[in-house]
């Protein structure tokens, strides 16, 4: 395993893992650096896990190997998945292959850049609040966040368990579906993963006419003032394409979405503060110095980058006595409302559509100094994770020469419908 320089800095570690024939034996695949690979260093983009070599494969990785995929590297990411730009990585920022002055999005920015540049055919990312869909949109590729519980999280190094999923990324919907076919389905090592997988590849192949008679709901809360003009133009054109293919587009209201971003960050930070407590330098990662237990731990954990420190500390604060009711309880109630809104809207519609990101990619360095500004960019992607529903970002053109993504979201375990609709859109535009 060697560390090599690539001009985009898409990879943290190179490797070459393959195990023969299978449905994916024609594909090279990148795996995000927070998904465990036996014998290959896995750092989560963090100095805290420098040198950590997992003794086992994540289920998703084992299944890719079983399917014959050739895994060629671990891809760069925001540290522990905490970021929207892939600039918070301890290994330096990844650059957007469309224009290297811009970020690739995050946190699965290395995966998206490797796919978009043609370095790999497909990649695994993880999506806690948009981390597959955002970089897919920013790099002009397809990124799927599956239903919570469809893909095993065993071997995914946890950031926010109740929100995150492993997802697939590729240059077209068909390859995205093939990767999902390999990794989806029940796993006794993940108690939340009990779903029967379907044949997504076949569904995409048979997608002809999938938009005919479908209803597409557009929540007014996701297409408001915050959406940049160029993005809005591409989104309106995408809706026109959907109509041309026989879909009915209607505007809906989902009032809970006004609360979703804040609820997401409270819950994600709370879970992060608990999950990341394990990084104490004793069982893995470089140890700390100090006179006692707490001092040595705090020293080892000083290796976290600023964004991780910020989230762990804010999560600790929000969960602390006296504040828990104001933040965490409120956020969980908002989450229930968001879930209910999605259920109600998807009762009367097949998919929900919005721009994936309200803006085009930031320039490198532009968003790092203002955390709240960076969080606000996740306004359209985070509600999906609160609801646990599947969602895909599909390219829908460019604004100012930078890619724009269309986000389509369906009901729980409706991946076959979602991917068919995405495929029909991809063909028609």
């Amino acid at each position: 395993m060697s560390k090599t320089e690539d001009s985009l800095n898409a990879f943290v570690t190179r490797c070459d893992l393959s195990s023969g024939d299978g449905a994916l034996d024609d594909l090279t695949v990148g795996v995000k650096d927070n998904i465990s690979t036996e014998g290959v260093e896995t750092t989560c983009g963090s100095d805290v896990l420098e040198g950590y070599v997992p003794p086992y494969d994540a289920t998703a990785v084992a299944r890719l190997k079983d399917a014959g995929a050739r895994i060629v590297g671990k891809t760069n990411m925001d540290e522990f998945g905490m970021g929207t730009t892939t600039e918070t990585s301890a290994h330096g920022p990844t650059r957007n292959p469309v224009d290297t002055d811009y970020v690739p999005g995050g946190s699965s920015g290395g995966s998206a850049a490797a796919v978009a540049s043609g370095e790999v055919d497909a990649a695994l990312g993880t999506d806690t609040g948009g981390s597959v869909r955002c970089p897919a949109a920013f790099c002009g590729i397809v990124g799927l966040k599956p239903t919570y519980g469809l893909v095993s999280r065993y071997g995914l190094i946890a950031y926010a368990n109740s929100l995150e999923t492993i997802g697939s990324m590729a240059r077209d919907v068909g390859t995205t579906a093939r990767l999902l076919d390999a990794i989806a389905g029940a796993d006794e090592r993940d108690g939340t993963c009990n779903a029967e997988a379907e044949d997504y590849t076949v569904a995409v192949k048979d997608a002809d006419g999938a938009l005919e008679g479908k209803t597409v709901a557009v929540p007014e809360e996701l297409v408001g003032e915050g959406v940049e003009e160029g993005v809005r133009e591409r989104f309106d054109a995408a809706l026109e394409t959907l109509r041309d293919e026989g879909a009915e587009v209607r505007e809906v209201s989902m009032p809970s979405l006004e609360k979703a971003l804040a609820a997401y960050y409270v819950i994600a930070m709370g879970e992060a503060s608990s999950n990341l407590a394990r990084f104490d330098g004793v069982r893995y990662g470089p140890g700390g110095e100090g006179d006692g237990w707490n001092e040595a731990f705090a020293d080892a954990r000083a290796r976290f980058g600023d964004e991780v420190k910020r989230r762990v500390m804010l999560g600790t604060y929000a969960l602390s006595e006296g504040y828990y009711g104001d933040y965490y309880d409120k956020a969980q109630n908002a989450r229930a409302l968001v879930r209910r809104d999605f259920e109600e809207v998807l009762d009367g519609a097949d998919v929900v559509a919005s721009p994936t990101m309200p803006l085009t990619p930031f320039e490198i360095g532009e968003a790092l100094d203002d955390p709240l500004q960076m969080y606000l960019a996740d306004v359209n992607t985070t509600p999906v994770n609160l609801a646990g529903v599947p969602s895909v970002s599909v390219p829908c053109g460019r604004a100012d020469d930078l890619p724009v993504g269309l986000q389509l979201t369906a009901g729980r375990f409706e991946e076959t419908k979602l991917l068919s609709v995405a495929r029909e859109f991809e063909k028609a535009r």
């Binding site: 003794p55 609820a263 104490d280 100090g290 409120k330």
Partner: protein
């Protein structure tokens, strides 16, 4: 409902201590503004009702409690900086 007072660097140092993360005095100062921005934004949640009924469609997943092969001890210890007699070795509890 929340303490309207904004956090200062002392508060940041206190939370850092609770979270077992060393931050320097300079770092604590630098975190103050972002903390207050984000916590201010969280006030969006103030008017969320307290009595939302969450439909709970979760089920416990159980299996028989039978021993089965697991990760060998040597493998589990392999990434530790220090181990002794098959145990992880941590800092002393002062």
């Amino acid at each position: 409902m929340k303490d309207e007072q904004e956090l200062d660097a002392d508060d940041v140092r206190h939370v850092a201590e609770l979270a077992r993360v060393d931050v320097t005095d300079d770092e604590a100062e630098e975190f103050v503004e972002g903390f207050n921005d984000v916590l201010g934004y969280f006030e969006t949640l103030d008017d969320v009702p307290d009595d939302v009924e969450a439909e709970d469609d979760l089920e416990n997943v159980m299996r028989a409690d039978e021993p089965r092969p697991s990760l060998p001890q040597g493998e589990a210890l392999k990434n530790a900086e220090e181990s002794e007699d098959g145990y992880f070795k941590g800092p002393s509890v002062s």
